[in-house]
Symmetry: C2
Subunit: 141 residues, 2 copies
């Protein structure tokens, strides 16, 4: 695993990041290194994309963590907390535009300078599940 | 990055795997290694989970790939194709039950013996986007 680019956001400190990308309207940019730029072809057809990235400020992990939205310890795999055994972050963002190897996106929630691992298209047919139970998360956040 | 468990599925060959997990009803199991089992606490509250895993049979990558659902070359980041620069796979599956460190799941689309990297809860509020355009993918698959 190696970075294929970098994500720019307004957030330089963990205390500033929104709880999740879903309701954030914060703008950011994704720079894909030139050697991977050809892989961005056809991406403009998608309104939303998954960004997979490294929680690069997370230097260790815990199996029980206290999420921002909760006051109890929870199993880390039942949360989106960064202190995970493999520190991979995942967010859905809106793709506004592509200029060459740079993507303009909306709804970022990661730190500025986050190393990018992968981009996947958000596909309604694959990724929207409506008959869900969301565990300890509040219904409205 | 290192495996935290293994995913068992009915598929021993790439030609057998369904196109995506979304409409698959195939049963599988996720074994999380005992040293990480404590992190599964609270997961039962979620009807669906993201599995992040290694495309372990994908030994190289291409920036342009021909998806199963299409007859044209597409940028790999506009597809879910396994031949990616960082071979990370991601699927949403339904969580049926947990017995200790083993999860019974439905809707698997990965190969039997796939190395598991992470589990994240599928959270309606974060992950459901309905105002989407899904690019070159057909509306119904």
């Amino acid at each position: 695993m190696h970075p294929i680019g970098v994500i720019y956001s307004p957030f330089t400190d963990k205390s500033q990041t929104p709880i999740q990308a879903s309701r954030s309207q914060d703008k950011g940019a994704v720079e894909v290194y030139p050697e991977y730029a050809e892989g961005l072809q056809d991406l403009e057809g998608f309104s939303h994309i998954f960004l997979l990235y490294v929680f690069h400020k997370s230097s260790s992990y815990s199996l029980l963590v206290k999420p921002l939205l909760d006051d109890q310890l929870r199993g880390v795999f039942a949360t989106r907390h960064p202190a995970r055994p493999n520190p991979i972050g995942m967010s859905v963002v809106r793709l506004i535009a592509r200029q060459g190897n740079t993507l303009e996106v909306e709804g970022v929630d990661m730190l500025d300078g986050t190393p990018l691992l992968d981009i996947k298209p958000y596909v309604t047919y694959f990724d929207v599940r409506t008959d869900t139970r969301s565990g300890w998360y509040p219904a409205q956040i």
